[in-house]
């Protein structure tokens, strides 16, 4: 039933494969979280500027992506992404076959999902900044860039950190869905190993423990960051 001795490192076990798979999960999570935050900032910006079309597009994007299963989004980007990229390339006069690698597709797909959640968190924390501060900054003659970097972002980071921590946990767990595209991360690795060793229970429990470690450790990291960023404020 259990074959935990198969988890040793080296040629006779799956330990090193699982280590690489864990790093892959982390890599995809970090990349897509970063890209997701970038997309989220654009989405929030589109929602708060006084432009109907931009706001409609942003609202449409967040509503649709949050209302559709993550798996569907990943399938759509995995199977349909190549066609889109090739279509764009054709416009620029490049007619050869392009194939995106699994990591790129995984990162883009998870980022598109993660950005919808991040954007809600960021928008709420932007709205939590009192208007007087922005007015005061403008009265001091600060330009848009320094208002953004010196007044808005430090406060948004502090307000948003707990929410961003939640989004990170969701993103980390969503990367398990990427296994359907064939990218070898923890979930895919555990399926491969259990097919070879005929012991699904062993490797699925390994996967569960690895995810548990990742979520717990990163939860601690976010707690530390929160304490760090809310110095001087009673929490």
């Amino acid at each position: 039933m259990f074959k935990f001795e198969k988890l040793v490192f080296g040629d006779s076990g799956w330990g090193d494969e699982f280590l690489i798979a864990t790093l892959m999960t982390l890599l995809v999570s970090i990349l897509s979280m970063g890209l997701g935050l970038f997309l989220a900032i654009i989405t929030v910006w589109a929602k708060i500027i006084q432009n109907r079309i931009a706001r409609f597009i942003a609202n449409f994007y967040t509503t649709v992506i949050r209302g559709v299963p993550e798996l569907l989004v990943i399938y759509l980007i995995f199977f349909g992404g190549n066609a889109v990229v090739m279509g764009i390339a054709k416009v620029f006069g490049y007619n050869k076959y392009i194939e995106l690698n699994a990591l790129t597709i995984a990162t883009i797909a998870i980022a598109i999902i993660s950005a919808t959640y991040s954007s809600e968190v960021l928008r709420a924390s932007y709205l939590a900044i009192s208007k007087g501060q922005l007015e005061a900054a403008r009265a001091l003659g600060m330009n848009k860039f320094s208002i953004f970097f010196k007044v808005i972002s430090p406060q948004v980071i502090r307000h948003a950190l707990p929410g961003i921590g939640n989004v990170w946990q969701i993103t980390l767990k969503d990367t398990s869905l990427i296994s359907v595209t064939g990218l070898v991360e923890i979930m895919r690795q555990s399926r491969i190993s259990s097919n070879v060793e005929h012991s699904p229970l062993t490797f699925l429990i390994t996967a569960a423990i690895l995810y548990l470690c990742l979520t717990t450790i990163s939860g601690r990291v976010f707690k530390t960051l929160e304490v760090n960023y809310s110095r001087g404020f009673s929490t």
Binding site: M1, L71, L72, G80, S194
Partner: protein, 236 residues
């Protein structure tokens, strides 16, 4: 005009829509069992979590920790592939449920939603003001009556928005059951994709149906919020 209608009827997206629609009942069946079951169990687990029996509270806390810390996909695979590989489970009565991807899906979804739901309800129960419990006690309410008349109604209506969120996440989570060969909407869309090599058409059809399902869920939660929070209605 007729040509236009014909072209719509012959379009892939129109055909796929009805194919995917045939999987809607399977998706709803999953939800119809796992959501009510998850609701009741989550309430019980939340009560156990706040109870003064340390062993019970600790056990439930670690259950919640493990389930919330691992992806749902791992849980589904563990139940479908993992438990099925154990010999004595295959020989026991449990096998009648576990050999069927539908019941595996129901079990996994229920286990998952109970953990999230229990944590939500715990927040609701702990946020009840002490004075309300004290006034119940001073009226001579017993423990059970206190629970039924004061704690649960107030706790549930307080957390309705966040529980509604969890319900929507559950609707989306049913799509993962398709990975255990269960043919619900995502599974059918995947099959159409494999047959026709037209990914966008197949998945857009499924996406529209999921959006519709979630829209209904949002309206349902809104109605519940309206119904059970009469003191918050603007004009009554």
């Amino acid at each position: 005009m007729i040509e236009f209608l014909n072209s719509i009827q012959n379009s892939l997206i129109y055909k796929n829509f009805f194919l995917v629609l045939s999987g809607l009942d399977n998706t709803i069946l999953l939800l119809l069992i796992s959501l009510p079951l998850g609701f009741v169990l989550a309430l019980l687990f939340a009560l156990g979590r706040v109870s003064k029996i340390t062993l019970l509270s600790r056990t439930i806390a670690s259950y919640i920790f493990v389930i919330r810390g691992t992806p749902l996909l791992v849980q589904i695979y563990l139940i479908y592939f993992g438990l099925g590989s154990v010999k004595f489970i295959r020989e026991s009565f449990l096998w009648y449920a576990l050999k069927d991807p539908f019941w595996c899906g129901v079990i996994a979804l229920t286990i998952n939603t109970v953990a999230y739901g229990a944590e939500i309800f715990r927040g609701g129960i702990q946020s009840i003001e002490k004075s309300q419990i004290e006034s119940g006690l001073s009226l001579g309410f017993g423990k059970f009556l206190l629970l039924r008349k004061i704690i649960l109604p107030i706790a549930i209506r307080k957390v309705l928005p966040s529980y509604g969120n969890e319900l929507i996440l559950m609707v989306k989570a049913t799509s993962l059951v398709s990975l255990t060969t269960y043919m619900e909407m995502t599974g059918i869309a995947r099959k159409i994709m494999a047959k026709t090599f037209a990914p966008v058409e197949a998945f857009i059809a499924a996406g529209i149906l999921y959006l519709f399902l979630n829209f209904l869920m949002v309206q349902f939660v809104k109605y519940l919020e309206w119904k059970y929070n009469p003191h918050l209605r603007l004009n009554n």
